[in-house]
Symmetry: C2
Subunit: 473 residues, 2 copies
């Protein structure tokens, strides 16, 4: 970079220049990876350097990828993607919109596909089952290659499911159940094997926790997962800290992915910086590896060609964009994905629930009384300030957290639709809506606690032992 | 960073400014890691930014750690250290000096300690054995904490040995044997257990090889190592691609190291860049982990406190500088080290032997005839151009490769000293020196080949099976 050049981009705003720099950086990397002619690369690099000088002149700061000029400093682990006031990456989800993140925008930005009515009907036709309420109600709203999975399934080519959880504490809340409830439905409906990764190594790397703590959380979380009723003959649950050291095939796939992803790439995808530890930098390969059937030779008889379908919250997509980029280069099929929206905090859809703030969430350990108090006290209401006003103008179910929760957990479509109408018209009051939610959550959580009590250490061990699973491929 | 400031370092050369910047960067990192007062950190950062501006003014380039101002660009995997014409890092060793790298300078630069006469005598006293010729002749010339190892040993506190090899091809040459010959002597002399790491994952990451090739090379190399006579009851040889997936304890230590080393650090130590794959970036932790006894619970009964002693060529030191930095932070003892010089190529001491150029090396598979031809044809001579001149002026043993090789392999000190004198005086001709070397190498290699033939797959399996070893600690 040389200094004191004439300004060549006088009409651009700092943000426009910043974006131009990002695009030019991509172009240079593209040319280099294609091994383009040296003259072309040099010219592109020259322009890049020129833009950097211009950028510094205008902003007084050095250009840094991932650091926009408006003073927003990225924290050390993200975000890779920001749009207006929405921020979505594996470590941060936030928005200023009370309805929550704008998911249609996210589909465009992530380059995934919308789960439309046609796909939902097709899933119904292919499986002969009513599509799960999470599909009917847009909780799972986005996908990658789901039609391909269904094409193959119709031709008697099966697939396997992969989902996971980062065990950062003992306590799971109802939001954590969403991907697992849906995954269980997929397993039952398609009759396919399932692997569940507990990323205790990730939590050790990211949090101020010991490995022993992370492993204990993994086992406790496994109990809650098992309590959902997964079929032990079709389900393998594993902790990274255990399984990496129990399966040479898994480690070999991790190294394969690690050979084919550069620091530049994870910097771009996850927002890592030079100050991040090398464990974080290489971790994405560990979340990628279970997407490949050869990572589980004991389950899949050494087969390398089985397609993987990953149900997960949309914030995990960056890992699998990376995985899908690498897969063909190491001779494996790309995993398909089904993405869910986020489960809102009691305080509103601006943020995810947090396991570390007890009042933002309904925990799986909450008593009926705690549930009642939390909903009544903290669930953000879309109703009006007084009964009179509410009766007159009606409430707004789209920002009402009690209504949102019922969307997740009430099976009856008609009852839900009636509540929407009555709440909007003012016929249904916030207190009544909350009461209905409490009636729904209390027995649901109590039943979960009852099932969890039945989960023995022996059962956990069974689920977590590498072994052959039942399936017909 | 702001621009257009007044020049505040007018009297410094670019190199002085570069070094000052490096020191100031260290200071800032130090203050941050100590969580010093914000004002102190801010002041240090301000000075750093100021120096960067000055640097750019003087050199016309942005300051970049690891890129000195003289235009030397670091290649993608190093070098971490360069001094004049010597370059020494785990991937590159070269010098323009016919006597080889300047090892005294290297000691100063790496901050290690010289193996002096006192230490050599002490090893003799403590073990009751004549110190190995590699010690007597300065082949192992540098150490870290060897006195501490001996102190503990004298107090009946034992240690374990760790060395390794990167299996980049089937063919090993005599230079590759140096650390193993010495390690065997240490094992026999101190009666201690030994772990030998074969970094097949490293070779997969760095070279254009498949994992299957790297693992096959690991097994083939293991046979040559076993042929040196290691005690199977005291020696565990492992391939990373196998052992990582067979030992949760090993992986857990790898992750511990990875949590405590940043990209900035490996960039500084190994010269990694943003274009390097994440596998390379995180690999140093995998070479670090065997330094800790808890990585081998099957050998050391879960003990975490055993000291490790690593005999290796000096180019591997960067890995263990990093390891020694991390060890106390994760509750483990720092490994001690014994560093060897490089084994010269037949063409001269300017470079290491290369496994990929058959004429630079004596391979362990060479026939007596090949050995004779290679020495006669390629061994760089320190003699004069004609017999007459040689008789008159004498030869130079310090640059004569045949003499250097005899220094490594001839046990008899008196014979070696006599040859040095006779060669220097002109009494001994190059041809006679080469003849003596050939007489030494031919039976040595033939005996090695004979012993290697006796190494069965079963024996390899035995050495490479994680198991309990014999030792009294």
């Amino acid at each position: 970079m040389t200094d004191c050049q004439e300004d060549g981009s006088p009409d651009l705003t700092p943000m426009e220049l910043y974006e131009k720099l990002g695009a030019q950086g991509d172009k240079v990397r593209g040319l280099k990876s294609e091994k383009a002619a040296k003259a072309d690369i040099d010219a592109a690099v020259q322009l890049l350097l020129k833009l950097k000088v211009d950028y510094k002149k205008i902003t007084g700061q050095d250009y840094k990828a991932g650091c926009p000029p408006n003073g927003i400093e990225l924290n050390s682990t993200g975000p890779a993607v920001e749009d207006g006031d929405d921020q979505v990456d594996p470590w941060n989800v936030s928005t200023t919109n009370a309805k929550g993140v704008d998911y249609d925008k996210l589909i465009v930005r992530f380059g995934s596909s919308k789960i439309d009515d046609e796909l939902i009907s097709r899933i119904g036709r292919v499986t002969g089952q009513t599509p799960h309420r999470f599909l009917r109600r847009g909780v799972f709203f986005s996908h990658r290659d789901m039609h391909q999975v269904l094409d193959a399934y119709e031709n008697k080519k099966s697939f396997f499911l992969y989902t996971g959880r980062g065990p950062s504490s003992e306590a799971m809340h109802v939001g954590h159940l969403i991907p697992f409830i849906f995954t269980k439905w997929l397993q039952d409906t398609f009759n396919v094997p399932l692997v569940i990764q507990l990323t205790d190594d990730e939590k050790y790397l990211w949090k101020d926790l010991t490995q022993e703590q992370c492993q204990r959380y993994a086992v406790e979380n496994a109990k809650d997962i098992i309590a959902l009723g997964f079929d032990v003959n079709k389900t393998f649950i594993f902790s990274d800290l255990d399984y990496m050291g129990s399966s040479p095939s898994f480690y070999r796939n991790v190294v394969k992915v690690q050979k084919h992803v550069t620091f530049n790439q994870v910097k771009g995808i996850f927002g890592f910086t030079d100050s991040d530890c090398i464990g974080k930098i290489s971790f994405p390969a560990i979340q990628a590896a279970p997407s490949f059937s050869s990572s589980f030779p004991q389950i899949f008889n050494e087969r390398k060609d089985l397609q993987c379908l990953i149900p997960c919250a949309i914030d995990q997509d960056p890992y699998f964009r990376m995985t899908r980029d690498v897969a063909p280069r190491i001779g494996y099929p790309k995993p398909a994905l089904l993405h869910s929206t986020f489960f809102p905090a009691l305080q509103g859809a601006q943020t995810k629930m947090s396991a570390s703030d007890a009042n933002t969430s309904i925990f799986l350990t909450d008593t009926p009384k705690q549930i009642k108090n939390k909903v009544n006290k903290h669930a953000f209401s879309g109703g009006k300030d007084t009964v009179e006003e509410h009766r007159k103008y009606g409430g707004n179910p789209d920002v009402d957290v009690s209504f949102m929760y019922l969307t997740f957990f009430l099976e009856d479509d008609e009852e839900l639709e009636k509540m929407r109408q009555d709440y909007s018209s003012g016929a249904l009051l916030t207190g009544e809506l909350k009461k209905r939610l409490i009636e729904n959550l209390q027995p649901m959580i109590a039943a979960h606690q009852e099932r969890r009590k039945q989960v023995t250490e022996e059962m956990v061990k069974q689920f977590m032992t590498p072994r052959k699973l039942d399936f017909n491929f």
